[in-house]
Amino acid sequence: MTREVFENRLFGLLKWVSIAFFLVITVFPLVYMISLSFKDIPEVVTNPSDVLPTWEQITNSTTYQDVLRSRDDGGFGFVRFLTNSALVSFLAVFITVFFAIFAAYAAARLQFRGKKTIQSGILAIYLFPAVVTAIPLFVLFTRIRIGDAPLRNNLWSLAIVYLAQTIPLALYMLRSHFQSVPYSLEEAGMVDGLSRAQVIWRITFPLSAPAVAAVSLYVFMIAWNEFLFAFLFMVTQQQNWTLALGLQQLNSTEVPATALMAGSVIISLPVIILFFAAERFLTEGLAAGGVKG
């Protein structure tokens, strides 16, 4: 057997072994999470390798209702956390896109003094440790008070601090998008007598809807998954817990693993669905933008 034949066979075999390995490490944890959200812990303890639940276990399970039900009704209050997470995430998306889209257009198309400095400044900031800014922001948002309560007790404050992470990313992704819109289209509009602002509003922005959608999804995922600031700002405010914080807080008390897994499914499902629904243009954006994590 020559070296070439040997290598072809070896790597041909290794390829399938590798695919199997990667499928196990990526898919199995998800299967495990969903399965254990239906199985009672005593059963898991007596037979841990029997992972999949039976059909009866799935249909008879009340775990999801318990997890979602409010605390007053004896549940874990996840509906409240879901609403909080959704509110913060949508706020972050809208504010981010609103500010980033103009700055990104200017960066891609307009000539002005100081442009390079500002842009590289914003991008360099993207690499800055969140922990270092967390302390002063915590102090600031505690000191500023609305009425009697510090600003950090307000859900809005979370959406605002997330902007430090989301605007640079959105700016970077949207700038590469605007650079790909043919300039001749805009020129044609200006020859037809539109002003620069009208060209942006009527030609460029409508063409950018898919890119804006991709950016919005990323921003949504960042805000939805965020833990550090939610923990620092909200840990004493149970009515303001996001899903990530609520789930972590649940873990530190005596709560059955079944409920923790159901909570994990609830927090994971929206992002998984969103991601796979839009996978193609999201992966391209991811490779282009480098989402912080």
Binding site: E4, Y32, A106, Q111, V139, M221, A287
Partner: protein
């Protein structure tokens, strides 16, 4: 006499008027976003320096005068003086290097595997992204359950022949016997590094896959005609092409892993030899209520990171010539 001057002059004035308008519009569009980002980062970072020189406790935050104080370096000597400081520095460096190497290694392996088309490739590529997409709180909870000593699936597999269950996330050391040698493995730290590699390999995977697909097919075909085997083509054609993207990945992943807080906090709480600097920072802030000390430790973290980045960029970083 007038005619030759007429056109050039008006176009010049018109152009400069237009340039002026463009300049104004550019600033108008950039400033709002820039102001937000800078006020959420640059201002806090500067203020962080001020805080690190002050003796501020969480409980008297409301009554404090922020810019009227005696500056001193007590916070720095306090955070460096605790016995857990140096272990945390060591853990942070080990964790950052281990997590970076593992995630990029796994990502490269995965990218090479799905590079050529096969049946079900799109689905496999989609599943590869799963660890990265799932919220970190959910991912750490699943790992905790899978590694649970009493009913976790991993211990069930490992101890099916009746061995002792292993406390993966709460053992600071574990004696491994291999080929007659025995050595102590920092088990919990190894687990958080494995978690890091698992969670972030999809990131490296996407970057490397995109770069792989940009390598012209003729290069490899020519090498094949010349009789180069798979491993030779990898060494002499693919690796040189990937050098640039891997340099960038090392930079990004190292910075982000070095500053990582939530993964370790959620997985082990910083127990069992996994305490990194970021966990200590939050402990100074939240646990002990010493805001000034937390700020000082944050500055130390940033300083160490800057030194390591400087060394890396100076001696190891390679720009992607093709990009």
């Amino acid at each position: 006499m007038r005619a030759p001057h007429y056109f050039p002059m008006t176009t010049r004035t018109r152009r400069s008027k237009r340039a002026l308008q463009e300049e104004r519009l550019g600033w108008l569009m950039t400033i709002p976003g820039a102001v937000i980002v800078f006020s959420l980062i640059v201002f806090p970072v500067i203020w962080n320096v001020v805080l690190s020189l002050q003796q501020i406790r969480l409980i008297d935050l409301q009554s404090l005068q922020f810019f009227n104080f005696d500056a001193n370096l007590d916070n720095f000597s306090r955070v460096v003086g605790v016995s857990a400081f140096w272990p945390a520095i060591r853990n942070t460096i080990v964790y950052a290097i281990g997590g970076t190497v593992l995630s990029i290694g796994l990502g490269m392996w995965a990218a090479l595997v799905v590079r050529k088309p096969f049946r079900g490739r799109a689905a496999v590529r989609g599943f590869m992204l799963f660890p990265y997409v799932v919220p970190v709180v959910a991912a750490t909870l699943v790992w905790q359950l899978m590694l649970n000593p009493t009913f976790g699936i991993i211990n069930e597999w490992l101890t099916s022949d009746g061995g002792e269950p292993i406390r993966f996330l709460s053992s600071s050391s574990f004696t491994v016997e291999l080929f007659g040698f025995s050595f102590d493995l920092p088990l919990a730290l190894t687990m958080v590094i494995l978690f890091e590699g698992w969670r972030y390999f999809p990131f490296a995977f996407l970057f490397i896959l995109a770069r792989l697909q940009a390598i012209p097919g003729e290069l490899e075909e020519a090498a094949m005609v010349d009789g180069a085997t798979i491993s030779q083509r990898f060494r002499h054609i693919i690796m040189p092409e990937l050098r640039g993207v891997i340099s960038v990945l090392v930079l990004l992943r190292f910075i982000w892993t070095f500053n990582k807080f939530d993964d370790i906090f959620l997985l082990t709480g910083g127990e069992a030899g996994t305490e990194v600097i970021t966990i200590q920072i939050i402990d100074w802030l939240n646990g002990r209520g010493e805001i000034g000390s937390a700020a000082a430790l944050g500055l130390i973290l940033a300083a160490i990171l800057s030194v390591m980045l400087f060394i890396y960029i100076k001696f190891f970083y390679q720009e992607d010539e093709s990009a």
